[in-house]
Symmetry: C2
Subunit: 718 residues, 2 copies
């Protein structure tokens, strides 16, 4: 329960009250590592504040069973199945004798049994924990300290009900091995992109004035927050790696070590984004060719340097051959050659390469309708399936374009069964309101994760990311997202955008959980004093906010109608004549991109059945993706019963109206939430109302000026 100068996100002290007023035994000594020490510290702070007590075991003072049984709550590291860990050795009979007596710390036994109920014969998943409530005693047992930390926070989330419910046994474990946040923070302020690229929350918590901050207390608080929701990896610098940032790998290592030391107690490994050209720009070599022995030796030496100061370093994130970043193409090598170069340097130390699949031609000719940016990632990467080393994770954006409000899922996700694929989401709201609009993305992510890649009932995007797809189970990977925090007093600019960070982390742990339940968790943890009215208001604003945003912005999956550069606010033709490959081709007759095999770019052919056919046929293509796949007349009738033009007229009117109702609802809970937070949200909702009406009027006017069609309801068009 560290305090910071910033307004806390979730985890206010009050959330620890149910635990903190009880007698707690923590069987996880500092010798179990820094994460175990964190658990001890959290419990000690909570019990000190709320009147409970904590006992910790140490190797020198083993507890008797009687002593253990005097505690109401037991948190124990008990080792993985078949083995007895350090802490459990102090609770149990001598090593080698697995405790079996139900009377003797029954929960520990139940935990070990719990490990078996996974049913897949898998070893304990790192981070897994079992919770047993029996006879008024609550026991959390885990095989490692990280699991114990997650179990502790699970108790906190559950609140009083964790301790007072009926007898129960549950097992929880992260579905994804990788639960990662990427930071697009620059060390030097970029002349165009600023301190944090696509950051809408002030400056960077890591960097200021061209260097790593001396005061990293915000990073420490951030690490605790992330650890509490199961994040286990962060990349601390922008994937667009400039000169200063490239030197984090060399001159900057002492600072990287300082940052890693703050994440380590929360079970989070630090990663660096690196430039593929670093052997030249940093190392002074004449080439960065991945097949050059000197280049390979240079990377091996750099990696050894990193691990010498950060023994649990996670690895590298690489944006190569993308939007001007260097890559293996310069040497006639492919993306697998590039990724494996780094993977082999990291391999001896247990590190991972996150290689982004975001490779496309960003200098496209808008006149050329045969080139389709949506095709690019599949065309580049799917032929390389099986070529990547096992410590390479291919990081794939959820859609084929770029984090739009609505896209189909990327066909790459279904195309590489022999590759570890991580799904990349964007918590920072680049294209979804930039934390000026209240847009909670839980439903979008949940829909993406649940998308059945091979048809209804089949395996999903979440299954691929978790490694549960293909002819045989692929190696596990997970979820990655671009973070949305900065040094803003509310962490995320818009206070309600904290819900996106929370929801991402919880979905990375359990992709199948209902996002609205996650939102409810977040509300409970963030506003512990909220009454039903506040809860209902927050749900009212956020539950459908993604759909509301879609309603008043780019319609029917067409995407990109934003101001070039900063990507905020409407500019219907803003990208229409640019090199970025992001067009809608509207004219007086119609709108949309023909991506069919029959008459268009053939992109539909990158999907497996049934989607290749569902999307191909304008009659079966879902309304919300119609303009992504088809160019249709303004008068084209949607399944919803109205034509495209009227759809724009209607949805934009209604979406904008909903933002007004949200602002009114929020005004009504003044006094029920902290005043400064209420004021900030009020200000943001007002901007959302203004912006939504601008979107509304511009889109409606644009469609009317092109189509000539009236709004059937007679509402004003300009």
């Amino acid at each position: 329960m560290t305090s910071t100068d910033a307004h806390p996100m979730w985890l206010p002290d009050a959330a620890f009250r149910p635990l903190g007023r009880r007698r707690v035994l923590v069987a996880a000594a500092p010798e179990d590592g820094p994460v175990a020490a964190t658990v001890v510290d959290e419990v000690a702070a909570a019990t000190a504040q709320f009147g409970g007590s904590v006992t910790t075991t140490t190797p020198d003072e083993p507890l008797t069973a009687d002593e253990a049984l005097t505690h109401e709550v037991v948190l124990a590291v008990v080792g993985s199945a078949g083995q007895v860990g350090t802490a459990s050795a102090r609770l149990a009979p001598p090593p080698g004798t697995v405790p079996r007596t139900d009377a003797y710390l029954p929960a520990v036994q139940a935990t070990l049994d719990g490990a078996l109920v996974l049913g897949r014969g898998a070893p304990w998943n790192p981070g897994m924990f079992t919770t047993v409530r029996r006879g008024g005693r609550t026991v959390v047992a885990a095989a490692d300290a990280a699991g114990l930390l997650h179990g502790l926070h699970d108790l906190v989330r559950r609140g009083e009900s964790a301790f007072t419910g009926p007898d129960d046994v549950s097992v929880d474990l992260p579905v994804n091995g990788i639960r990662m946040l990427d930071h697009w923070d620059n060390v030097d302020v970029h002349p165009v992109m600023g301190q944090v690229e696509r950051g809408y929350s002030g400056g960077s918590i890591f960097y200021a004035d061209g260097r790593v901050r001396e005061d990293l207390s915000r990073v420490a608080a951030y690490a605790r927050l992330l650890g509490s929701v199961g994040i286990n990896a962060v990349a601390i610098n922008n994937v667009n790696v400039a000169r200063t940032e490239a030197r984090l790998l060399t001159d900057g290592l002492p600072d990287v070590a300082r940052i890693a030391a703050l994440f380590r107690p929360h079970g989070i490994r630090v990663h660096l984004s690196v430039s593929f050209a670093a052997p030249m720009t940093v190392g002074g070599l004449p080439t960065s060719d991945p097949l050059d022995p000197d280049v390979q030796a240079w990377w091996a030496a750099r990696v050894a340097d990193v691990y010498a100061v950060v023994p649990d370093f996670g690895g590298f994130v690489v944006k190569a051959d993308s939007e001007g970043q260097p890559g293996p193409f310069a040497y006639g090598r492919d993306q697998a050659d590039g990724a494996n170069l780094l993977a082999r340097a990291l391999k001896p130390f247990g590190g991972t390469v996150f290689w982004r699949a975001f490779v496309y031609d960003h200098k496209q000719d808008w006149r050329d309708r045969s080139t389709d940016r949506a095709r690019a990632a599949f065309d580049h990467f799917s032929p390389l399936d099986g070529r990547f080393d096992d410590n390479v994770v291919l990081q794939v954006k959820y859609g084929p374009m770029d984090f739009q409000t609505r896209e189909p899922v990327s066909p790459v996700i279904a195309a590489m069964p022999r590759t570890r694929l991580a799904l990349e989401l964007q918590v920072t709201q680049e294209y979804t309101g930039q934390q000026k609009h209240a847009v909670w993305l839980g439903p979008q992510w949940s829909q993406i994760l649940g998308f059945p890649l091979w048809g209804e009932g089949g395996r999903t995007v979440a299954d691929v990311a978790a490694g549960l797809c293909g002819p045989t189970d692929a190696p596990r990977a997970g979820l990655v997202a671009v973070s949305n925090v900065g040094d803003d007093a509310f962490w995320t600019g818009h206070p309600l955008a904290q819900a996106n960070l929370y929801t991402f982390a919880r979905l990375a742990w359990s992709p199948e959980i209902d996002p609205v339940a996650v939102l409810d968790e977040w509300i409970g943890l963030t506003f512990p004093d909220a009454d039903d009215d506040v809860r209902a208001t927050l749900h009212g604003i956020l539950d459908d906010s993604w759909r509301t945003y879609e309603d008043y912005t780019a319609p029917l999956g067409v995407g990109f109608m934003v101001r070039p550069g900063h990507h905020y606010g409407p500019d219907v033709d803003g990208y229409e004549y640019t090199p970025w490959g992001t067009y809608h081709f509207a004219d007086r007759d119609g709108i949309g991109v023909d991506r069919t095999r029959a008459t268009g770019t053939g992109f539909t052919g990158q999907y497996p059945a049934p989607w290749r056919d569902v999307y191909e046929d304008v009659a079966t293509c879902p309304d919300e993706l119609l303009l992504f796949f088809h160019h249709v007349p303004w008068s084209h009738g949607l399944r919803s019963g109205v034509c495209v033009a009227q759809h724009v007229y209607d949805t934009h009117w209604e979406g904008a109206a909903r933002t007004e109702r949200n602002a009114e609802a929020w005004a009504a809970v003044a006094g029920k939430v902290p005043a400064d937070l209420h004021a900030r949200v009020t200000e943001r909702l007002a901007e959302q109302v203004r912006s939504a009406h601008e979107w509304r009027d511009q889109l409606r006017t644009y469609v009317h000026r092109h189509s000539g069609l009236p709004d059937a309801t007679g509402r004003t068009l300009y």
Copy 2:
């Protein structure tokens, strides 16, 4: 003939050869002031280099007539009509005795006679000079040192013919009293606008690293160039005055004095742009109300401070109540109250206020077609005619909008006969190719200056600026332009953009001269070794370049189809839904702004007859302004015989093609001009070709997508 590290503009040493190889007498001692010393220095340097000789008079050593007559060239300050000046006293009989003997220095007498041929009984105009060629001797006489400097440079421009032609007497004088360049240079780099706002020539020659440069040698070279073409005023900082810039008036005075000292020897007075809020932001007062005595006293004290260190300080430039700059409206005062506040502080010292008329609502609602930005300056200022003090100059942009490639002239120019009006032009090519495109603006400016405000044959824009209009002659003012120089090696980014600076200065001196003759002068002075081929190529590229640029950019006077913010390159709808008041209202049926009295904004009514009626009627409105004044169908037939859509198809195709021909022509003169200059121009022409084709294809496509009309010639549309 100073040298600098930068490539010279006009005035290379070779231009001084015809003068420098002769015996020259300069009757202008340093006692005549720093400008006289400049004349002496220029002649001495030229004769030293080219084998001639120079004799200068001094008060202690008066020349006899015989001595004077031994020189081939005489440059003399002779005092104004009816008076005998310092230098002439040394050449002539005792003061009071006007020389009358034709044998005794006849040219001086001819000069005095020349003063009378002006025919208006006016006193000698500052800067006026007379040139007499008689019996193989060339005499330049002037009433002041500035006149002698201009006479010297007139000789340099004329070259050998100045000394070898038949006997002749000519009088030259600047038509405009004010011939000024405004610099939009920032002391601190502005986060969006950079070091020089709308600067396309590198950094500022005045400022770097947040302060005035230590090394001002480029400023000294610039002052010499400007002095050689008659510029007599500069404003050294941006009209958008930020925090640091506001302190030039206080802490920065020693630096302002250093800069003024470099301009002074060339007859140029330095001005500062000031913030109307300076009494508050700099002075710490609670108000900037122009009627507040403390505010008035504050300005009086600041002005006294300035004149204490810069005795010939020119005055202030003010952008008030415009695009976010503070102004008198905040206190319920009008623009005259604001201007007169500063004028009265400056009055005792002979200073002038340049008050910009660029006042409009920059937060307009694009939905509101009744508000018309074009009306704003007239609506704000015309009621104030007669209210401005006589040391206020109202600085009016040439058109009602903002330096577009094609606009009608501002109706303000015809509306304020009792006000000193300066015409504001833009040498820096903000909307005309940003010194990436070769666009010589001489013809545009010449056309504006010659526009007959009250109908053919009547007084012109130039007449108003010069003070020759209205029921009685108004007080004189002149021409002001935004400069285009920076610390670029070629001074202006595009080397050929130097011609714009030169042409502006020459038109400020003589608005009626043929701009193509001015261009020819510039070519001769800049490329003294150019053969006929180079001359013809430069004329071929530049003579029609304004029209070429118009052809491939926004058509028929509609303006603004540029990328918002930086204003480079096409974005047809870029400003269509913004608050800037710059719309074209294109839809599937037509395009243009209805500014008629009959059905539109009524802007046509701001013009006097005949223009109020010529512009009102679509049948008489000139083609090139059609869309400025009228909204017409795409199929509307132009006087040229084609419809609007086909006009766009044709002009854009042909304009872009002309840029290709220009690039080819320039390639053919490689080796005939300096290699580095050839390379720079080649690079710029290539960019112009690329950009012109982008304009071509986007405009043609936009019109086709909206109108549905085919290109009658069958050329590709996208």
